[in-house]
């Protein structure tokens, strides 16, 4: 069954969507402070951060921006931080929706190829970095609450890493649910492999850090533990993603090539050298390409033969037989007699036909006049 993409709301619908999403985002922000990552005691685990990303990709930059921005305002108000105290983080959260919204203009309305999937994940990572960088810059220039480099190492980098990993994993899932990611062989393999990698790493890291949690004797030791776990996570997830992309590419690239070749065969524009490289592979794709190559050659041969019939319209006449047949007729007495009569008719017919015709027309004219 073919499922259609979810229906996008109009102007009023967008307003309701933004308000609803911002409220959800704010409430989750306010109450997720209790959910702490074992390895980073000062950092809230905030899976809801994927929400503005998702709405940005799905509904465009403004819906994404307002969801993130208003959601953060609501969260801060509920936590008694004051409405505008951390305004730089309102903007950072707004950017979480705005940048993916702009990114969807890069042809991301429908993700069905590996290329677009990689672009989407790159937008997710880049958005995390840009948003946090903007917030830090605004603090340095105007707010001046942070104390560098302590703030950076104690909570900004951990927050960045946590959010990046979370959005990297969750945003594709939400997009898949909204059918913006179309399940093709390429996206299926990439999703499955990258998810496998990420889950293994997160489960291992959580288990290991959880096991040594009680042995950590100071906040400094916790931070160090977080860093080890975090850096390993980022490295392995990155490596895993690259491997997934590479594997997916190895599998889907021949399919894409075969598809393109088939399309050109259909259009009659196929060139035999196209599949040569692919046919040299020893695996199943090589065999399939070989079959297609031979098939294309046969089709071309058949088409050429058909096309040549145009010029090969041969009118073959057995001249000897023709002469015999003609002689048999023209040498008969009947024919000679007929030819003689025909000659006589022709010599007379001219005047005869024209005179009778004239007489006749005269008569007819006469009768018409009468």
């Amino acid at each position: 069954m073919r499922l259609s993409k979810i229906h996008l709301p109009g102007r009023t619908g967008s307003f309701i969507l933004i308000m609803g999403a911002a409220l959800v985002y704010g409430l989750l922000n306010a109450y997720s402070n209790r959910l702490l990552l074992p390895s980073a005691p000062f950092i809230a685990l905030r899976p809801q951060v994927a929400l503005p990303f998702f709405l940005g990709f799905l509904c465009g930059p403004w819906v994404g921006f307002l969801t993130g921005f208003l959601g953060n305002v609501i969260g801060d108000v509920l936590c008694d931080y004051g409405v505008w105290h951390f305004w730089n983080w309102h903007i950072a959260n707004g950017l979480y929706g705005l940048i993916p919204g702009l990114g969807s203009r890069l042809g991301l309305q429908e993700i069905r190829t590996l290329r677009r999937f990689v672009i989407m994940e790159s937008v997710v990572v880049a958005t995390n970095i840009i948003a946090v960088a903007c917030a830090v810059l605004a603090d340095l220039l105007w707010i001046r609450i942070m104390q560098l480099p302590q703030s950076l190492t104690s909570w900004i980098l951990p927050a960045l890493i946590t959010n990046t990993v979370l959005t990297f994993v969750l945003v594709p899932l939400l997009l898949l649910a909204a059918r913006m990611i179309v399940v093709t062989v390429e996206t299926r393999i990439t999703l499955a492999l990258s998810w496998l990698m990420v889950s293994i790493v997160i489960i291992t890291a959580t288990a290991v850090t959880g096991a040594v949690w009680n042995d950590l004797d100071s906040p400094a030791a916790s931070v160090r533990a977080f860093y080890s776990a975090g850096i390993v996570t980022v490295l392995v997830v990155s490596a895993g993603f690259l491997i997934a992309v590479f594997l997916a590419y190895r599998i889907t690239d021949p399919i894409t090539n075969l598809q393109a070749a088939a399309r050109r065969i259909e259009a009659g524009e196929y060139h035999p050298s196209e599949l040569a490289l692919l046919a040299a592979r020893s695996d199943e794709f090589g065999q399939l390409s070989g079959i297609m190559q031979r098939m294309a050659e046969k089709i071309e041969g058949r088409e050429n033969r058909l096309r040549h019939q145009v010029t090969e319209l041969k009118i073959e006449i057995d001249r000897a037989k023709q002469d015999r047949d003609v002689r048999e007729i023209v040498e008969s007495d009947y024919f000679k007699d007929l030819r003689q009569k025909a000659r006589e008719f022709r010599t007379h017919s001219e005047d005869e036909r024209s005179t009778t015709r004239e007489d006749d027309t005269d008569e007819q004219d006469e009768s018409r006049r009468l």
Binding site: I315, V326, K341, D360
Partner: protein, 248 residues
């Protein structure tokens, strides 16, 4: 100056009767007075195209040839256009006895000729079209001998080539003043100009047209005249060009 035109094909199934009927209507649409004579006594069919009821046909060409009636009594108007354009039809007899008699004794050429001359003047005809019998029998040779123009129809089919070559040569020996080939039912995969050129070389005879194998025409089959129903169809326009060239 009126013209007698024989339309012939060596084998059956070339679309000869259909082409004859369409050429006749095409000429009448240009204001000419045309009479179609069906001499294809062994398998007469052109009256079907003009939707003439066999039971209601009255006198036929055979009745005239055997002195049962005057030639004028055999012709009936089957199509008219404007003030002058008209097609008359002289049908062939459908009686089995008549058919056997013609096969046995043939026609009297002198009488046939007198009949033609007479009907031309009686109906003030511009054109007399003779739908001949396939093959090269005596009646066919007679029709060709009486004609000013011979139009030979063939299909791009090896079986048509040999017989057509013989027909063309025999017609040349009988000194018919003008002769044209018309290739009919030509599949799309053949290039038309090329086909025309090759036929002209092979038969040493001008080719007046190459008509495609038309599904539209096939759909109408032998139920009505194509150029009458679809006067603006490309095929009808081509038919008009052929009609004009024959008469020039």
């Amino acid at each position: 100056m009126s013209k007698i035109i024989s339309i012939h094909s060596f084998r059956g199934g070339t679309g000869k009767s259909n082409t004859t009927a369409n050429l006749a209507v095409s000429m009448a649409q240009r204001g000419l007075r045309v009479c179609v004579v069906d001499t294809d006594i062994q398998s007469p069919g052109i009256h079907v195209l003009f939707q003439l009821d066999p039971a209601d046909m009255g006198f036929s060409l055979n009745d005239f040839l055997w002195g049962k009636c005057e030639i004028e009594q055999t012709a009936r108007e089957v199509f008219s256009e404007g003030s002058s354009g008209a097609v008359f039809l002289i049908p062939s007899s459908m009686q089995t006895g008549d058919i056997a008699r013609v096969l046995k004794f043939g026609y009297d050429i002198q009488l046939l000729r007198e009949g033609f001359v007479h009907i031309i003047s009686a109906l003030a005809l511009d054109v007399l079209l003779i739908d001949t019998h396939p093959g090269l029998n005596e009646e066919t040779l007679m029709s060709i001998a009486l004609s000013d123009v011979l139009l030979v129809i063939l299909r791009p089919d090896s079986q048509d080539y040999q017989g057509t070559a013989v027909t063309v040569e025999v017609a040349r020996q009988i000194e018919v003043p003008a002769m044209y080939l018309l290739m009919n039912k030509v599949p799309d995969r053949f290039d038309r100009t090329e086909t025309m050129e090759r036929a002209r070389e092979a038969f040493r005879c001008p080719v007046i047209g190459v008509l495609p194998h038309s599904d539209d025409m096939m759909a109408l089959a032998s139920d009505g005249i194509f150029v009458e129903r679809y006067p603006d169809h490309p095929l009808s326009r081509e038919m008009a060009v052929i009609a004009q060239q024959i008469l020039e």
